[in-house]
Symmetry: C2
Subunit: 294 residues, 2 copies
């Protein structure tokens, strides 16, 4: 049985770490808290992490992605020769800064499609969904990816191993780059409020088209109907507050660089024009900066 360390005891880390522990895995968490209460349609449970007295087989990185995180200091004490590094985070092109630091370790990138938030630091509310996608970065499915996927499946979490995790990341960014920023800029709007206002729907589509174009230039051909599908699926959801909006409301920094800044830099490298993403970035990056200075 693999031994797992979760770094980042937020909603994502506590929920997925908790599910693995519940199914019998050894899961430690870097946190001052000893216990988490997880409220979930899959069944409520208490997650008591294992003592951290092992060299992890998997380090599951579930922090937010901020440019000022010193990954070397944060991760180095926990990465051994046999440790696979697993990112379970939002954003695009977030892997290189970490992979560069540990070039000899197995490197896995993952995405969570889930509605989950922290009510308090130890009270996690899982609302719905939960599907995971994992793959080696930039591509491939190693035995460890397969093992991780099977472990999650055993824990009751739908999990898919993918040969092309970069494409999966672009596909998730289609939703994230549109709804996350707009929800903040529209004055704290739920997905339902945005989808009930035609000008916002139009711009949502245009932002998504820009991400699809960027993905294509980066070698990821997303299916043509993914924009319609994203909008239709979101319209079926109950009113939902995006993670960026929750961060904004709780005065936490927003993942502006991981979601928008990195996308813009890809566009700049591949000479793809991105006026929509650029406008979102220009406003949210200053908003973030003002918030942090305040």
């Amino acid at each position: 049985m693999p031994k797992i360390l979760v770094i980042g005891a937020g909603a994502i880390g506590s929920f997925y770490g908790g599910k693995l522990a519940q199914s019998g895995e050894t899961v430690a968490v870097l946190s001052k808290h000893q216990e988490f209460f997880i409220q979930s349609p899959l069944g409520d449970f208490t997650f008591t992490p294992s003592p951290y007295n092992f060299e992890p087989d998997f380090v599951l990185i579930c922090t937010k992605v901020y440019p000022d995180i010193d990954w070397k200091t944060l991760l180095s004490p926990h990465i051994f020769k046999h440790t696979a590094i697993v990112l379970l985070q939002n954003g695009i092109d977030i892997e290189p800064p970490i992979q560069t630091l540990f070039p000899h370790n197995e490197f896995i990138s993952g995405l969570a499609f889930v509605c989950v938030h922290r009510e308090t630091p130890t009270h996690i509310i899982h609302e719905e969904h939960g599907r995971l996608v994992f793959g080696n970065y930039p591509s491939g499915i190693s035995p460890k990816v397969k093992q991780l996927s099977e472990d999650f499946e055993k824990a009751g979490i739908s999990c898919k191993a993918t040969e092309n995790v970069k494409e999966a990341r672009w596909r998730k960014l289609v939703w994230n780059a549109a709804f996350n920023p707009l929800s903040v800029l529209c004055g704290g709007a739920s997905t339902t409020e945005m989808l009930n206002h035609p000008p916002t729907v139009l711009t949502t589509r245009h932002i998504m088209e820009e991400v699809v174009m960027l993905a294509k230039a980066d070698g990821a051909n997303l299916p043509l109907d993914c924009i319609d599908k994203n909008i239709e699926d979101t319209a079926k959801m109950p009113p939902y507050k995006t993670s960026m909006l929750l961060d904004f409301e709780h005065k936490r920094p927003m993942e502006v660089e991981a979601i928008l800044g990195n996308a813009l830099r890809v566009g700049s490298r591949l000479t793809v024009k991105t006026p929509y993403l650029e406008t979102l970035y220009a406003t949210l990056s200053l908003l973030n900066k003002k918030r942090q200075q305040a």
Copy 2:
């Protein structure tokens, strides 16, 4: 001597009406207030409007431009055969809805380049500048335009009559369409904060380029250096809160339609793509709507 009625006793109406009254003109104001105190580098003064017992030669419309204003009900009682209608308001393409209602009246459109705000409903603070531009809409300089300009000059206000007021309006929109929306979306940013954040400066330029392109498609060839000049002149100003930001902070509706919505509609009519303006509109129009519902 012409008799003047000011409609809209905000900062603009009280300041310019007050200056005309100070120089000896007969100026009435549609307002429940009988007295305004104007604090100004040109000299502080108290403006006591004339009793409104005349048929105005000029009706100076200084209200904000909101789509739900019933211009017919508001204006009809004050417009006589000889009355010239004068707009002193922000935005683009704001003339047709009013001009259509009074097709036989002389119609003058004007712009104020001024930093002035209302501290209280009767306490107006004029910070700096004050230049006016007037012309017949859509073009021309009639004797009444000349008379009005001379009256303002006599009152100590620099005033220019222009053959092409549409071009003047586009030129002012270059500044307004960029700094007004961004100041709100960036979390209440002053001009200085925006100009100290490179991503915001870049997007400011791109928004301005879009307005210059729109203006060109609409027949107004703005000078090529107007973008640099707008940015340089703004950088020389002390930190300034835009009028849209002041409206937002005071929970008043913002002039989103006059400044952005109308520009987008011109772009749509002339098939000019406007992704920057569209993104600003998508966010601010929903923000405005949510504010008004709250």
